[in-house]
């Protein structure tokens, strides 16, 4: 580097070090701010996922015959509401800023329904107060155990 025997630092060196410091710190601090945002985002995501699983589980644990095919929007998927026209009612824990919708389709072979494909879609706000809506969906198969 510098083979001078001077004891002080030149301005250039100070500027260089400050610059290096800035260079290093900038991404660091940017990381933190995005990290912060990420955490907030994950909280909403987590709640959306929890709501999705809650809905999916209650549908899947029904006997196969009670899983009625169809498309269900957020207006019918409410706590205490009827699932299809069947006797089964929905049961949800309260969740703000999220909307549930679901689609149940048959998978058939040789005239028999072997599986139901259940797709659950959750729309949720990215962060409290924000107006960005994000969507998340989950799907699975339920087998007909009565064959």
């Amino acid at each position: 580097m510098n083979n001078s025997t001077r004891r002080g630092l030149s301005m250039l060196e100070i500027v260089f070090s400050a610059g290096i410091l800035a260079l290093i710190m900038l991404p660091v601090f940017m990381t933190f701010s995005t990290g912060n945002r990420n955490i907030q985002l994950t909280d909403a995501e987590f709640r959306a996922h929890t709501a999705a699983i809650e809905l999916m589980e209650q549908i899947i644990s029904l006997p196969f015959g009670q899983i009625k095919s169809g498309e269900y929007e957020s207006d019918v998927i409410v706590d205490g509401g009827q699932f299809a026209d069947g006797p089964v009612l929905f049961k949800f824990s309260p969740a703000e800023d999220l909307w549930r919708s679901m689609k149940v389709e048959d998978i058939r072979r040789d005239g028999k329904t072997l599986f139901k494909k259940v797709t659950v879609t959750i729309k949720y706000v990215a962060a409290p107060g924000s107006d960005r809506i994000r969507e998340f969906f989950m799907k699975t198969l339920v087998a007909n155990e009565n064959l």
């Binding site: 070090s17 400050a18 290096i20 410091l21 290093i24 710190m25 991404p27 660091v28 601090f29 990381t31 933190f32 995005t34 990290g35 990420n38 955490i39 985002l41 994950t42 995501e45 987590f46 996922h49 999705a52 699983i53 999916m56 899947i60 998978i107 072979r109 072997l114 599986f115 494909k117 989950m138 799907k139 699975t140 198969l141 339920v142 087998a143 007909n144 155990e145 064959l147």
Partner: protein, 684 residues
């Protein structure tokens, strides 16, 4: 420099938080993917469990089953985890893949069937080391995969492989835990005549320790049997006998027919010309008075008094016990007071109900190794060989018919004196000597060696005497000098085949029960439940498993049950362990030699036979008593705690099945593979 350091530290902190948050971000995602994968796995198992169960059932059904799977399970030694989809024709996976793709291109489901976690379960030669007995699981694994997460749902069924032959009992014909329960001579209750005929009262239980010519399957070939009899070590291939407990004594039955036992000493191949063998005592074993002629007054002293020179020898004849001859009502063997009343009181005149070495017919003599403190008793009739040395007396002497017989009577020490008269058995005056005991023997000790008496021999050593008979040994001595078998209390038995040691140690009823209980595959509550589950509508037993019946009401188990056809046909053999109660056998027949049924009675109680139908069965009841009932025929091994013998005992036969002997490869036919029909999943 300082800045660089601070910067680096903060960078590290930032990166860790970011990765933590980022990880959490992906963590949530993978939790959800994991859930979906789990649901897929559930869908997989729910949809295919029916076809998987069917495929497994097809493979294990009937006696054919799937060769490959059976071979795998019955192979001796450890079994590594192995996927058996190919053996089951796993068509369900193709469909599952299709359905999964239909749902999402990143989804997949597959269902595999594995044999896992098998371990050899009988490994200790001190109890029983079976090379093929193993426990493990048949596992149905459904794997759901979504994006990068996989979940597996396991459905397990227990698999057990166990032998239905009761361990070392497969090497024995008869095992009696406490033989002398009714006293040392408790078995001696049969009244037979000289020829071994029995007209009333109790009858003998005869054990045949090899395959007799009349066995329904595995019948022995007469030529082979006769040839094998002459082999010194034939006991190694025979069913053994264990008479445990204190000292017991079996009075040998005389006679050469199908109930007689005198073949222990004599060749009885032609009963029509049966005659006892006379053993001549060598001169060097006799007192000095026998070595030279003695001058003694003859017995025809009514005509003239005369001293005649006689030469004496000694011989004896062995016989069995007989209670009465066909001419006399009294105890024929004690007739003529040759055997003393003291002996009569000690031994009685009745013979034993246990005939351990088969019977006297050709092909049915069945000597084997006998364990325990058990002896045979038999009368030894000693006679004096009298030879008058003066020709005229000799001519007179030999012209008498029947020939003069000078039996030496049995005398106790107290009753001995040197003036006891020794005369012709019929008391005739035939030109023989007027003999008194003191003329031949100086002391009781000498006389005791010569006199008639009831002898005892360890049962195991009668094997050696029979060897002399079979090998037509010239110059036989008694007891035999062939030292093949000696009395053995069974402290150290060894059963092995090829290089594998099945058992080493002392067999006990308790440890046998333990080994058998550990093989239990199915537990049933009551006898009724048992019949409902395993008896088919034709009344045949399709067991194919090792079942334990609790029977808390301690009912009697009749086999076959009352009202069902006799004998009960065993289509699929196995083992039935009755925890409590009594066993009553009424006739059991196996359709093939590869099937065997073993009945185990774990508690105290009784085993009895209430029908004369044959029973192809092994009975293990070391705490139970064999009760009286009808005469029975059993093809298999019998293990009981004790035998109740009284005038109602009708006897029968126990025939060892060499096909079940663990030292032969025939033993391998009797394993049963049990796959629990219930899955863990449904927990019904």
């Amino acid at each position: 420099m300082f800045a660089v350091i601070i910067g680096t530290v903060m960078l590290i902190l930032a990166v860790s938080l970011y990765s933590f948050v980022g990880h959490q971000h992906t963590g949530i995602q993978s939790i959800v993917n994991g859930e979906i994968a789990h649901f897929l796995a559930e869908a997989g198992i729910n949809s295919s469990i029916g076809s998987v169960r069917e495929a497994i059932g097809k493979v294990m059904s009937g006696t054919s089953g799937n060769q490959q799977l059976n071979q795998l399970l019955l192979n001796p030694g450890e079994l590594e985890d192995i996927c058996i989809n190919d053996m089951l024709d796993a068509s369900w996976n193709r469909d599952l893949e299709e359905f999964a793709r239909e749902m999402d291109k990143d989804a997949s489901i597959k269902v595999d069937v594995w044999l896992r976690d098998f371990s050899i379960c009988e490994t200790a030669p001190t109890s029983w080391a079976d090379p093929a007995a193993k426990d493990g699981y048949l596992v149905i694994e459904s794997t759901g995969t979504f994006k990068n997460s996989s979940r597996v749902i396991l459905v397990k069924r227990k698999v057990r492989v166990g032998s239905t032959i009761p361990a070392w009992m497969g090497k024995f014909s008869l095992f009696v835990n406490d033989a002398a329960r009714a006293g040392e001579g408790g078995f001696n209750i049969i009244r037979n005549d000289y020829r071994g005929m029995i007209t009333d009262g109790p009858k003998p239980l005869i054990t045949y320790n090899h395959a007799t010519p009349d066995a329904p399957f595995e019948a022995g070939n007469m030529g082979d049997i006769l040839r094998e009899e002459a082999e010194k070590d034939i006991w190694q291939r025979r069913g053994w006998i264990w008479m445990g407990g204190r000292r017991s004594r079996l009075n040998l039955c005389s006679g050469a027919g199908d109930l007689g036992e005198i073949f222990h000493f004599y060749d009885v191949s032609n009963p029509n010309i049966f005659s006892p063998v006379k053993f001549s005592t060598p001169a060097d074993a006799l007192p000095d008075s026998f070595s030279s002629s003695l001058s003694i007054p003859w017995d025809k002293s009514s005509s003239s008094v005369r001293q005649v020179s006689y030469r004496f020898g000694h011989s004896f004849v062995l016989d069995g016990f007989h209670d009465r001859s066909n001419r006399k009502e009294t105890d024929a063997m004690y007739e003529g007071n040759i055997l003393s009343t003291g002996e009569k009181n000690a031994y009685s005149s009745k013979s034993s109900i246990l005939h351990l070495f088969g019977d006297a017919r050709k092909g049915y003599q069945s000597r084997t190794r006998v364990f325990g403190n058990v002896h045979i008793a038999f009368p030894r009739y000693a006679s004096l060989e009298v030879k008058p040395e003066e020709p005229d007396v000799e001519a007179l002497f030999t012209s008498v018919s029947p020939p003069p017989l000078y039996l030496l009577p049995s005398v106790s020490e107290n009753a001995w004196n040197n003036s006891i008269m020794i005369q012709d058995i019929m008391g005739r005056q035939v030109g023989g000597p007027l003999l008194q005991s003191g003329m031949l023997c100086d002391s009781y000790a000498d006389y005791a060696l010569l006199m008639s008496r009831i002898s005892e021999l360890p049962y195991a050593e009668s094997y050696n005497s029979m060897q002399d008979v079979y090998s037509n040994k010239a110059g036989r001595v008694f007891p035999s000098d062939a030292g093949i078998l000696a009395m053995d209390n069974g402290l150290n038995l060894e059963i092995s085949r090829d290089q594998h040691m099945f058992f080493k140690g002392r067999p006990t009823g308790q440890s046998l029960l333990q080994v058998i209980e550990n093989r239990t595959q199915i537990e049933i509550d009551s006898i009724n439940d048992f019949w409902k589950r395993f008896l088919n509508d034709r009344g045949e037993l399709e067991l194919n498993a090792i079942v334990s019946i609790k029977n808390s009401r301690q009912l009697d188990m009749q086999i076959p049950a009352a009202g069902k056809p006799q004998p009960m046909v065993v289509k699929g053999g196995g083992m039935i362990i009755l925890q409590q109660g009594n066993l009553v056998l009424r006739g059991i027949s196996c359709i093939s030699p590869a099937e065997a049924l073993t009945l185990v009675l774990a508690g105290t109680g009784s085993v009895s036979f209430s029908s004369t139908q044959p029973n192809h069965v092994n009975v293990v009841a070391p705490n139970a008593e064999l009760g009286y009932g009808s005469k029975f025929d059993m093809y298999g091994s019998l293990c009981v705690g004790s035998i109740y013998a009284d005038h109602r005992f009708q006897g029968g036969t126990v025939r060892f099945r060499p096909g079940q002997d663990p030292t032969t490869t025939g033993y391998n036919r009797y394993y049963k593979v049990f796959i629990d029909p219930k899955d863990s999943f449904w927990n019904e």
